[in-house]
């Protein structure tokens, strides 16, 4: 570890000394709202030097003394040229104007400035809320998770699920963050809608399997979601209505250009109109509340306070009552030490609770599960040179688990506590114009409390390399090791989520370890198109699965139902996208396989994991007919998912008993679906008022995509009949949004 640090510092010092330069630093913001533009790029064409704003909107660029012409760009914004005379370190806040008519020709240059070819990071996909709004929605609600599911390498099962199966991973192997706070269940309505309120979200970045060293704790992916900060200049309000929910949002300055607030509340309608009855056995309700305050303290400090609370309640006519929700809060302080040092410190609380209550034969049954975190972390960035950033950080999380608790001691599991520590060092460095590295080490440790178990320590090296073949093409390769100490024990074979029971690596449950190597070729052509081919191979250790007949709810010996073994996943992803012009769209094809080999399951033989969906093809397109009218369509086709179905039957004591072959040996019919939508966006009136309306058709050709199956014997013929349950047929939706 010490050697690595010394080497990095030596290299950093060498790079820093190689030229006489000054530093230009500051923030890149929306000119109207003052909102940070995360990932906005700053590029100096003559020297081919550039940088991008970090996750907090801060940039730092080292340039030689003299006059420079810089291009500042962000997708959906008008590219701005900035001329600057550098004769010393300088601070500059750059304000970009939003392109009011959407993605037009103006932003061609913007898209061409910061392209994947130039980034040393690998397998990162950034989506802005404007991009997400262009995709067809499920219930008229623009949904971040649904947009992420459109990315290649990301799979899901069934209609409208919030599950993310990333490159052979499981739902619980994704670190889902909202303003740096982990969300342990991202689902409303069992997953039909995600917890991310589009009115409160600024942008989201998905890291597929190759996470930079600052991230840890999950082995498959990171979904890093940033909330909006609120308008620094004027107050704004918006109302959004969809068939299922209403959202009210307010934001504005607390002190002009110094402090702002954002508050957004979303609530579903169901319970206002119906009560559980025979025709409507389940009535779901959900709400979200997002709030954020941010304030500048002097030139170099900013303080942020974010809050999220979401809650679901499901009531049934048979007395079942299930409610779950996440609560999180982040207090964050950023500080610039001069123009080249940037510090981010955060104190985070996160809480997930799931309560199940029902009455059975006059007995009330209660079951609770949950997880609470207290998290303190800090990260320091040092911009050594124009193309060299050193980042170090450390953090500690105190986890408190309620793995399963009921009124009966016989069926309750003891509460558990654990500490998860992490430290990282990361260097993003371009030693040559055509060669770049993003490498580092994430060191993690897990300490079960109230237990004699030893502290587990794992080094997790991460490295990615970028070789630019020319301005339009690059080759990338990466390796990363990720370790996950907490896992979900959930015994359903569906991708719908609600009863997540998080369990730490104690009492024989080992941490999951995943090693991933990947490589890719990226190419831009004809000025408007981007294409890529990416390959990956992933090997997992201690992957868990459940024995036949496993029962995990209210089982005090829950770990006896779990086995662990090896996982193996590989795949190739082809992407083609057009991000500029009146017509934009993307097309992807993925071939991938996922197998598990776990003792005691499937007789120890390899078997397909739930996410083993070999073929996956997606295409979506959006056309801007006029500045106000646009239409979009999305179609996806994927192989069926593995399922364990009976191949035969026999009679025993009056019961018809199924005979299965191997675990997940059958495969459901292929999944395909077409979604359509069109939208009208009003002009922005003088008083700032504007409105949009969108009309959509989910599952436009009414495809039956089965979610579950049931077999019944025809009593007259003795033949077996199969029935498929599907969630949705064709589903029209209308939504309206108005804002000031």
């Amino acid at each position: 570890m010490k050697r690595i640090l010394i080497t990095i510092l030596f290299l950093a010092a060498f790079v820093g000394l190689r030229a006489q330069t000054y530093t230009l630093s500051g923030h890149i913001v929306d000119a109207t709202t003052g909102e940070m533009l995360i990932g906005a790029t700053l590029f100096e064409a003559s020297s081919q030097t550039g940088t991008s704003a970090n996750g907090y909107g801060f940039y730092s660029l080292r340039l030689p003394a003299g006059k420079h012409k810089l291009q500042c760009a962000y997708l959906g914004y008008i590219t701005q040229e900035v001329e600057i005379q550098l004769d010393g370190d300088k601070t500059l806040e750059i304000k970009l104007e939003e392109n009011a008519v959407g993605l037009g020709e103006v932003t061609v240059e913007a898209a061409s400035v910061e392209r994947p070819q130039r980034q040393n990071e690998f397998n990162a996909e950034m989506l802005t809320i404007n991009q997400i709004r262009k995709l067809p929605s499920v219930f008229g609600e623009a949904d971040i998770i649904k947009a992420v599911q459109m990315q290649s390498g990301v799979k899901t099962i069934g209609d409208a699920s919030s599950g993310l199966l990333v490159r052979g991973g499981t739902n619980d192997q994704n670190l889902i963050l909202i303003d740096e706070a982990p969300i342990y269940n991202p689902s409303h309505l069992f997953g039909m809608i995600s917890i991310f309120n589009p009115e409160a979200v600024n942008q989201v970045t998905l890291y597929k399997s190759n996470m930079p060293a600052q991230y840890g704790g999950r082995v498959s992916a990171v979904l890093d979601c940033k909330m909006k900060e609120g308008n620094m200049n004027r107050h704004g309000f918006s109302v959004a209505l969809s068939p299922f929910a209403a959202t009210l949002t307010a934001n504005g300055p607390i002190a002009k250009e110094q402090a702002s607030y954002l508050i957004s509340a979303r609530r579903s309608f169901f319970d206002l109109f119906v009560e559980p009855n025979k025709g409507m056995p389940l009535v779901p309700t959900f709400y979200d509340l997002n709030a954020k305050i941010n304030t500048k303290i002097g030139q170099n400090d900013r303080l942020y306070l974010s809050f999220y609370r979401g809650h679901d309640v499901i009531d049934s006519n048979e007395g079942l009552h299930n409610n779950w929700g996440n609560t999180s809060g982040t207090l964050r302080w950023t500080h610039n030490f001069g123009s080249r040092w940037f510090l981010n410190t955060a104190f985070i609380v996160s809480d997930y609770r799931n309560d199940l209550n029902f009455i059975y034969k006059k007995h009330e049954f209660n079951w609770h599960t949950g997880l609470s975190d207290l998290n303190l972390k800090a990260a320091l960035s040092y911009y050594i040179a124009p193309d060299c950033e050193l980042r170090i950080g450390a953090g500690a999380i105190r986890h408190a688990f309620v793995p399963g608790e009921s009124d009966s001691l016989q069926t309750s599991l003891p509460h558990l506590q654990a500490m998860e520590y992490s430290a990282f060092v990361l260097n993003d460095w371009k030693p040559l114009r055509w060669l770049g590295f993003n490498y580092g080490l994430h060191l993690s440790a897990f300490q079960p409390l109230d237990s004699d178990e030893k502290v587990m320590v794992y080094p997790e090296p991460r490295v990615s390399m970028n070789v630019m073949l020319n301005d339009d093409a690059s080759l990338k390769a990466a390796y990363s090791r990720n370790v996950q100490y907490i896992q979900v024990l959930q015994n359903n074979s569906l991708n719908y989520t609600s009863l997540e029971t998080w369990f730490p690596a104690v009492n024989g449950l080992k941490p999951v370890i995943a090693d991933v190597v990947s490589a890719g070729f990226f190419l831009d052509f004809a000025e408007q198109f981007s294409t890529s081919v990416e390959l990956y191979y992933k090997k997992g250790q201690n992957q868990i699965d459940f024995i036949d007949h496993a029962q995990l709810i209210s089982n005090p010996n829950v770990l006896s139902q779990v086995r662990s073994g090896n996982a193996m996943a590989y795949g190739v992803e082809f992407n083609l996208s057009k991000n500029v012009g009146k017509f934009t769209g993307a097309m992807s094809y993925t071939y991938s396989r996922v197998t598990y080999t776990i003792p005691d399951i499937n007789d120890g033989n390899p078997y397909s994991a739930l996410s083993d969906i070999p073929h996956d093809f997606r295409i979506n397109g959006s056309y801007q007919f006029t500045p106000h009218w646009s239409a979009s369509a999305a179609w996806q086709y994927s192989s069926g998912h593995p399922v364990t179905l009976p191949v035969g039957f026999y009679e025993y004591m009056g019961q018809t008993v199924p005979i299965y072959t191997e675990r997940n040996a059958s495969r459901t019919p292929a999944y395909h679906r077409l979604d359509l939508s069109c939208a009208y966006q009003s002009p922005k009136y003088k008083n700032g008022f504007n409105w949009t309306a969108s009309f959509g058709l989910f599952n436009a050709y009414n495809r039956l995509n089965p979610l579950g199956y049931q077999f019944e014997t025809n009593t007259e013929t003795g033949e077996m009949r199969a029935f498929a349950y599907s969630m949705f047929g064709i589903l029209p939706n209308v939504s309206v949004r108005a804002g000031w």
């Binding site: 068939p243 069926t411 036949d548 049931q710 033949e719 589903l731």
Partner: protein, 306 residues
Amino acid sequence: MNTKISIWKRAAHAVLLILVFASCSRIDEIDINDFDGMGSEALQGRVAVFGNVTTEMRQHSVTLTPVKQWNESQAPLPDINRVFVLCGNDTILYTEQPIGEFAPNTHSKTFVSEQPFKGEVGKTYRLVIETPAGDITAEDELLALGNTDYFQLMKDNVHCRIYQTPSGRTKYDIQFPKHIYTLSEQPAISGVTFYSPENIPIDSLYFWTFVHSDLSLQALFSEQSFANSYDLSDLSREEDFITCSVSPSFYSFLLNVFNESDWSMGLFASISGNAQGNVKNGYGYFFASDVQRKRFAFNELTDENE
């Protein structure tokens, strides 16, 4: 005016809800041929075995039923050369019973011991079924039944309704809970019980049934509860319960048979898998049980309608 707007809004919302929910949760019959991997294992000629040896002196029986592939309504039984039970040096021969008028499955065959006999606690019984394709075998040790004094039918657990049929006859509708013993008060959702056999002491493992229904699994693991209708004019107001000891593996088998019979893929469903019996080259379970009987009087019940 406001009222009209309100009505219009409600109507519009109702229409939207109808549109949404009309398209939700559809159930359609499907062709299983659409699934890949179905019928990948040849089940032709396979046999399921149900048979037992108990501590009661009687002729014991073994019933063989054909295993059907998912797309078969009927399947033939293979030829059976001989059926017998081995215990130590003793060989107990079984002979095929003629198919009766009320045989539950005309494709099944029942073999009955040639002589009455009773099993003994601690002994192991091995069933051998000789077929041209090879022997089908199973064995089980006869375990002693634990203390069942606490095994009582409590009024709180048994729901009774007395009613008159249209023809004027008096009938009892009685519902018994799923498990009537101290560890039995386990709730269930959609028929899935929330416990595993390992949570129950071994000497508490047994199942029970009614004498008139023979060894019917429904008495133990019926989905909701065991319901039966008694015609007061046809039946006495007393009923025998048979309590049978079972091994942990047989208990697990029974539990899994019940759970798997649902094919439920819902949120609360367990992971699908075969109910592991003890029959080699076949399916099902051949078990040995220590048996006790208890008499239960109907007149202890009170009509809940009253």
